[in-house]
């Protein structure tokens, strides 16, 4: 009988020389990725977990049972009903954005499982694919049944199947990151940048907020998912080390590009949850503080580890920590019917906290909230007045990230127009334009929501756009959580009278 140490290498790291085909036919550059190198350059690829399939299954079974136990104890509808309304809406954001994004991770990992350049890499990517399938199923299982409580949870399944503007942006990101990506770029972008860095926002930051918000089900779910991420994220580091050795400029480009693309998406997904959709007394830190401690510091250590430089846009990114997600939240609030979750206006206490945490640009943001509050005060609270406190003109979107043109500051929006091969594009920021220009053939034919409206593909009138193109209904489109009926606003009205 062989011991584990004797048989494990045969199961997880077994390569051989090909005699009937060439190696570059088995691993074509277009799908394995560049730089294309012979296997002799990859043969030392290694990771530290060295898990067998049986160990993997046993371990995952235990974790699934633990999640199920917590679900049975505190994950029932009556438990969720007790959560604060803003946090419940944060859950809706993640219920929609997370599960099928994870499913695209299955596709990316399966590409690594076939086209990764070493057998140990391929073995680990197989587990990674199984992990991501788990990360699809668990949130679907936990979130989608909540539609009995609130029909907006239907978007747990529905979101990525719609042409909602945020779904278009998220698909644009995940299609490139995972679904349509070669194995090398996928593993660097996903394992090194996304999972070693940005998913800490979800799995550490949000887990902590969930605990503060007494949402033990969500806390347990994301913590369980994080244990998988910590394992399969190991794939990317030896991939990056090899690319760095043979083509450091390309390695730098991939890291720079994907750090920016991740920043754009996660500043919205997590920034809004931390700074707006968590009750003030349950916020242990601001989004910026969390980014600085968990993402920026860790990313800089990763760069050091590989001998990489800071991205060229680093100062711009640090400046955006103070403003970007605030610009997005105020814009999204004023177009809330275009989304599938509800919003809350920051009241005087929240605005005081935001001013303390974000002193650099808060004066300008405060003026925006003052104006929106004033509109509610003028028209009066109530569901019937929702659209009197809602944008009517079409908001605009970046031709790279597909997110609203909300970068820069209220004083100076950084959007920029570019004519490329006779067609006009607009980008929210210099890094988005830079990414486009590095690989225009990848992005040039995609049309944003504005171009779809102008071409007649999407309806121009807001009610039709919401229902026919964004697949929303009066029940599911976003509203003000309190229909504008805030105690602090009532007090202001009384004093004005």
């Amino acid at each position: 009988m062989l011991t584990r140490e004797e048989w494990l290498p045969l199961a997880r790291k077994l390569d051989w020389d090909y005699s009937y085909v060439r190696e570059d036919e088995v691993f074509p550059e277009v799908i394995s990725g560049r730089p294309w190198l012979p296997h002799s350059e990859w043969k030392d690829w290694e990771e530290s977990f060295k898990t067998s399939y049986r160990e993997y299954v046993d371990n995952q079974y235990e974790k699934d049972m633990a999640v199920q136990a917590v679900h049975d104890a505190v994950g029932r509808i009556e438990n969720v009903e007790k959560l604060a309304l803003p946090w419940l809406n944060s859950l809706k954001v993640h219920a929609a954005a997370l599960p099928l994004a994870e499913f695209t991770g299955v596709v990316g990992n399966l590409r690594g499982a076939r086209f990764g350049r070493d057998s140990a890499w391929r073995t680990m990517a197989t587990f990674g694919a199984l992990d991501e399938y788990r990360h699809t199923q668990i949130p679907l299982l936990l979130f989608h049944p909540l539609l009995r409580l609130d029909s907006q949870f239907d978007w747990a399944h529905k979101f990525y199947h719609t042409n909602n503007w945020f779904a278009v942006a998220a698909r644009h990101f995940f299609d490139e990151l995972t679904v349509g990506q070669n194995a090398i770029e996928f593993h660097i972008a996903t394992n090194v940048v996304l999972e070693t860095g940005f998913t800490n926002l979800q799995f550490v930051g949000l887990a902590s907020l969930a605990r503060e918000s007494s949402d033990h089900m969500f806390e347990r779910m994301v913590t369980s998912i994080q244990t998988d991420e910590a394992r399969h994220a190991q794939i990317g580091h030896p991939v990056l080390a090899t690319v760095m050795k043979h083509d450091p400029k390309y390695a730098q480009y991939l890291v720079d590009k994907w750090f920016w693309r991740n920043w754009r998406l996660f500043s919205i997904l997590t920034g809004l949850s931390i700074d707006y959709l968590t009750a003030l007394d349950q916020r242990p830190y601001s989004f910026k503080e969390f980014m600085e401690e968990w993402i920026i510091d860790q990313f800089l250590r990763t760069l050091d580890e590989f001998g990489l430089e800071k991205p060229w846009y680093w100062d711009l990114l640090l400046d955006e920590l103070d403003i970007y997600h605030h610009m997005i939240y105020a814009s999204a609030y004023s177009y809330r019917a275009t989304l599938w979750f509800n919003f809350v206006i920051p009241g005087p206490a929240e605005r005081k906290w935001l001013r303390q945490k974000y002193p650099k640009y808060w004066d300008d943001m405060d003026a925006v909230w003052e104006q929106i509050s004033e509109r509610w005060r003028t028209v009066g609270p109530g569901p019937a007045n929702e659209f009197a406190v809602h944008g009517t003109a079409m908001p605009t979107f970046c031709d790279l990230c597909q997110l609203p043109l909300s970068a820069g500051t209220p004083r100076k929006n950084t959007a920029r127009v570019l004519v490329h091969e006779g067609r006009k594009y607009i980008f929210c920021s210099e890094p988005c334009q830079w990414i486009f220009l590095r690989e225009p053939e990848r992005y040039a034919s995609h049309t944003d929501i504005v171009k779809r409206v102008l071409s007649g593909e999407a309806p121009a009138q807001l009610p039709n756009l919401l229902t026919e193109y964004f697949n929303l209904t009066p029940d599911t489109w976003g509203k003000d959580v309190h229909s504008g009926d805030y105690e602090w606003l009532r007090a202001r009205k009384d004093s004005a009278a």
């Binding site: 104006q371 909300s406 209220p410 920029r416």
Partner: protein, 80 residues
């Protein structure tokens, strides 16, 4: 003839699509953007239109100013 433009009002958090008429004056164009952003930005005068980094004559029309579809323009509001 309608001309779709990207409009950015100083003080606002998002750019807006403004359907201008090529016969609109730039003053009227600025007012259109100001009205479209009024939920978020309080109205202030005077309004100045900036196009290709230059402050434009408000009496010019969109056509005279050379605006083309999907160009960017900015509106500054309040005293200089």
């Amino acid at each position: 003839m309608p001309v779709p433009l990207y409009g950015f009002l100083q003080g606002d958090t998002v750019g807006l699509l403004i359907l201008a008429d090529d016969g609109d004056t730039l003053e009227a164009l600025a007012r259109k953007l100001q009205a479209a952003a009024s939920l978020r930005v309080a109205a202030r005068d005077p309004l100045r239109v900036v196009y290709h980094d230059k402050i434009m004559d408000p009496a010019m029309t969109v056509a005279q100013a050379g605006f083309e579809a999907l160009d960017r323009f900015d509106v500054l509001s309040g005293s200089k």
